[in-house]
């Protein structure tokens, strides 16, 4: 009852020093003590990486990583093993039986140590659960091996600019790629180019947003941390691209993943502006959105148009008539708010769980010290009895602490889905913007057309008054008619483009709804199953202590 036997616990007198005290032998050997790592909770992003650091606490399970040994704070596990199997049984367990939640087995230790790799697997498993038809297709992308390289071309700075490249390895069974495994080295500039090109080519789609450039931060952060963060972000981005049913098959992505060498930068499109300037231009080139520089004139025209839309008394010739779409847009906005809110509260929850685990652990340690002390100095048997009771409680507290940390590591992974969807909302905004700018183009062209038509009418009216015709005016009319024809063509192309984007929007919205439902449901399930599993474990631990101290129970 009072003298609980805990087989793993060494006799107190063997602890000669404080260091040994910190390296408790409870059930398994523990790593060296690290100071509190509980302050990096500004975002899930940092939470994801810091979790793996902060779990290396005396109270965490043994780390079974091999090469990049004990101290992740010194050497973050850079070399991801791309051949790692999907060991994310926590996400979709068949049941929350004990088998799944044995916290001290290799699987879970690896889980905790390589959170990032598991989130990759999360994505792929979600993708698996979502896509009904192409469930056997896969594209697995890993980003690794950052290398510092020199700018080879002449630069103004003597010694040259340095930049980092990353090894991007792809494994796939999709025949379009022509090969099942290949690698390429890319720098961040290439990623920006890829992102820009996708944005041009896939207007109306929910294109996952690329990682930030983060210029300012890069000055402040330690180079190594920055590189690692970027590597992680790149991997996530590429995985998201690979998870998009349309984009994963795009040429842009293919080239990016396979073709070594400099990626051609995005071509600035000024064709539309040239067209609107009055220069002949191929109609299909008109469909790119206006950009800066040479598109200035077009920008002005579209701006004028949009002002007319907003403030003019008359309705624009084509209106966003899809009421359903407007409602959907508002709803998306609301959804985004709620997801953002939930994501914030999830972060707070995670922090609170983390703190609970830490304090519980510290309490346990304090009692361990007390136990050792009482045993060393015991003069009466009652002291030894008390020391035994304390040891019982301390061991339980340390175990419970461990469970809280593990629970939290899993919670972070699950609730991160919220954060992921926030990122996706950005993509949705982009797609809606594509739509409205396409609409604006159509409206502008229509206005332009009507202007041209009225000009032609005036000229014809004037010319018809002159007997025999006005040679110069007739010539002008001819030119005008040509312009009108071209503008008509451009207008038709613009309308087609607009319709295409509308269709893309619609499909993507449907896809978003379907996938979001699945993802959120998985998230809820995973979260709940986790909570249940660990709560049961924690309850068992304390129930045992309550049992062992039941002799003291107050007679009521």
């Amino acid at each position: 009852m009072m003298g609980s036997e805990n087989p793993g616990f060494e006799e107190a007198h063997l602890f000669a020093s404080r260091e040994e005290m910190e390296n408790l032998v409870l059930d398994d050997p523990l790593s060296t003590h690290h100071p509190n790592n509980n302050n990096s909770y500004s975002s899930f992003r940092s939470a994801n990486s810091s979790i793996s650091e902060s779990t290396h606490h005396p109270l965490s399970p043994p780390m079974l990583s091999t090469s990049a040994d004990s101290d992740p704070l010194l050497s973050p596990p850079v070399c991801r093993n791309p051949n790692a199997s999907d060991n994310n049984s926590y996400i979709e367990p068949p049941s929350y039986a004990d088998v799944i939640f044995s916290p001290f087995d290799e699987n879970s230790a690896n889980e905790i140590n390589r959170i990032d790799s598991t989130s990759q697997d999360t994505d792929s498993s979600f993708a698996l659960s979502r896509s009904s038809s192409s469930s056997s297709d896969y594209i697995k992308i890993t980003v690794s091996n950052p290398k510092k390289e020199q700018e080879t071309t002449n630069s103004l700075v003597p010694g040259g600019n340095t930049y980092y490249t990353y090894l991007i390895t792809t494994r796939t069974n999709i025949p379009d790629f022509g090969s099942s495994e290949f690698s390429v080295r890319r720098r961040f500039r290439d990623v920006v180019a890829l992102s820009d090109r996708l944005a041009e080519a896939y207007r109306g789609y929910f294109i996952p947003p690329r990682p930030d450039k983060n210029v300012v931060e890069s000055q402040v952060m330690q180079k190594q941390d920055f590189v690692e963060q970027r590597r992680v972000a790149l991997e996530k981005y590429l995985k998201r691209l690979a998870g998009h049913p349309v984009i994963r098959l795009s040429d842009e992505l293919k080239v990016f993943l396979q073709v070594e060498g400099r990626l051609p930068l995005s071509v600035s499109t000024d064709v539309a502006s040239r067209m609107l300037d009055g220069t002949a231009v191929a109609p299909h080139e008109v469909v790119q959105p206006a950009k800066g520089g040479r598109d200035l004139l077009r920008l002005f025209k579209e701006l004028r148009q949009s002002v007319a839309n907003d403030w003019g008394g008359s309705k624009p010739p084509v209106v966003e008539e899809d009421k359903l779409f407007m409602e959907k847009k508002e709803w998306i906005h609301d959804l985004e708010q709620q997801i953002s809110n939930a994501s914030q509260q999830a972060e707070t929850l995670v922090k609170a769980q983390q703190d609970m685990g830490e304090t519980m652990g510290e309490l346990g340690l304090a009692f361990i010290k007390l136990t050792k002390f009482e045993n060393e100095e015991a003069m009466y048997n009652s002291q030894r009895v008390r020391a035994a009771d304390m040891k019982c409680v301390a061991t339980a507290a340390v175990k419970a602490s461990r469970f809280y940390r593990e629970l939290n590591a899993q919670t972070v992974k699950h609730l991160d889905t919220l954060h992921e969807y926030l990122g996706l909302m950005l993509a949705v905004h982009g797609a809606f913007t594509d739509r409205s700018s396409a609409l604006l183009t159509v409206q502008t062209l229509l206005s332009e057309l009507s202007t041209l038509h009225s000009r032609a009418e005036k000229l014809e009216a004037a010319s018809s008054k002159i007997f025999g015709g006005d040679k110069s005016r007739i010539h002008k009319i001819e030119e005008l008619k040509e312009t009108i024809r071209i503008t008509e063509d451009a207008k038709n192309v613009a309308i087609r483009e607009y319709e295409r984007i509308k269709e893309n929007n619609k499909c993507e919205l449907e896809r978003l709804d379907k996938e979001r439902r699945v993802d959120f449901l998985n998230m809820l399930k995973g979260f709940v199953v986790n909570q249940v599993g660990y709560a049961e474990k924690i309850s068992d631990v304390w129930a045992k202590v309550a049992e062992e101290t039941s002799g003291y129970a107050k007679d009521s």
């Binding site: 707070t348 009466y380 399930k525």
Partner: protein
């Protein structure tokens, strides 16, 4: 050897009051009295007893915190060598002073305090205790203010006379300035143990307090998260929306459980630890008293020896001051013997007290640990149950 009264220390009174002697006290009903800066809390102290020295089987008086301090100080003065039960801390941060939680904690601690005295075989016989438990409020107030005045010691204290005068002299004569200390290895060990123990306990208590705070924080975050989930659920609608709403509701319900457990933790775990720390501090005070008593004994013994030498000298010279010196010597001898007796009593009492203390603490901490473990298990079970109840719905959602 001496008549030991067995008592039930707590509120229960035995079935047949006439046969078993009992003294049980309860401190209840905190009430805020007075205004502004003068405001204070008063407690009802209910005594049930069949001790003959007491006025009757039941007595109710109104007492305030400073009355308890008076009692503690009197006992400390009279019963040197006994570990006087500790009192809860004097003052708290101003705005906290009248919070419901603080008042309840203090009431509980005061109740424990009086009952420990009432169940101690020596302390329970104290006249001051009787006064405390029975005197009317005016008398109590008079006594209380009297004590805080300048008159702390009784004038006819034998020790006083000689202590003040002789100590400095003997120190100079004996050529040592530093205080005299026992050279008892076992006692040294005990002293070391006590001082170390306080440090360890204080740290444990600190973490226990933090743990309470963590429970509250987790509760708050669950509440906030629950609200957010509900809002998201309302936005999502359909089956998924319902799932979010249900999750949110459970989260909020768990938040309540966490706050409750935080309170339990504070009262049944953190407070006993704090009490433990206070008890050790009380022992330190007793250690101080023992040191004083030892010093007095040494000094008086030395002084007495000197006086004896002096007396012999006078007798040889047939001085007419012999009579006076003889008288002084006799008085000093009596005082010295009394000092020795006092010291030895303290030593004896302490030896008994330390055994009692260890046993008491093992018992009390055992209870605290049990409550702690029970509470944590109970909480974890609630958590598991609440989340588990969601699973069938979630399963239904995904298969739909």
């Amino acid at each position: 050897m001496e008549q030991q009264r067995s008592v039930s220390g707590s509120v229960q009174s035995p079935r047949s009051p006439s046969s078993q002697p009992y003294l049980s006290v309860s401190v209840t009903d905190p009430v805020k009295l007075g205004n502004g800066v003068q405001a204070y809390i008063s407690y009802r102290v209910i005594t049930k007893t069949n001790f003959p020295e007491y006025q009757g089987p039941e007595k109710i008086v109104i007492r305030r915190y400073s009355d308890f301090i008076w009692l503690r100080d009197r006992l400390f003065d009279k019963y040197k060598g006994i570990f006087i039960p500790p009192l809860p801390e004097k003052s708290a941060v101003e705005k906290f002073r009248f919070s419901a939680e603080f008042i309840e904690m203090r009431r509980q601690a005061l109740d424990v305090f009086v009952n420990r005295i009432a169940s101690h075989n020596l302390l329970q016989q104290s006249e001051d205790l009787r006064t405390f438990l029975q005197a009317d409020e005016e008398t109590m107030e008079r006594l209380r203010s009297y004590e805080t005045g300048i008159f702390k010691k009784k004038p006819a204290d034998l020790m006083q006379i000689f202590k003040d005068v002789q100590s400095k002299v003997s120190d100079v004569v004996l050529g040592k300035e530093k205080p005299v200390e026992e050279s008892n290895p076992e006692y040294e060990k005990l002293k070391h143990y006590v001082f170390e123990l306080e440090n360890h306990l204080a740290e444990a208590q600190k973490h226990a307090y933090r743990l309470v705070k963590r429970h509250r924080e987790l509760g708050q975050s669950l509440s906030d998260f629950g609200k957010a989930a509900k809002l998201l659920g309302a936005c999502e609608g359909q089956a998924l929306g319902k799932a979010f709403s249900d999750l949110g509701a459970k989260s909020e319900a768990l938040s309540v459980k966490l706050q409750k457990e935080a309170h339990q933790l504070l009262m049944s775990f953190e407070e006993p630890l704090k009490d433990y720390v206070r008890a050790v501090q009380s022992i330190k005070a007793t250690i101080g008293e023992r040191a004083n008593a030892f010093r007095q004994q040494c000094e008086l013994a030395e002084t007495m020896k000197l006086k004896e030498i002096n007396l012999d000298k006078l007798m040889l010279t047939r001085s007419d001051r012999v009579g006076e010196a003889e008288h002084e010597y006799k008085e000093l001898k009596a005082a010295s013997e009394e000092a020795t007796k006092r010291f030895e009593t303290i030593v004896r009492l302490m030896n008994e007290e330390i055994v009692r203390f260890q046993e008491q603490k093992t018992r009390e901490m055992g209870i605290a640990f049990h409550e702690f473990a029970k509470g944590q298990a109970r909480l974890a079970n609630s958590v598991a149950d609440a989340w588990r109840s969601l699973l069938p719905k979630l399963e239904a959602c995904s298969s739909a």
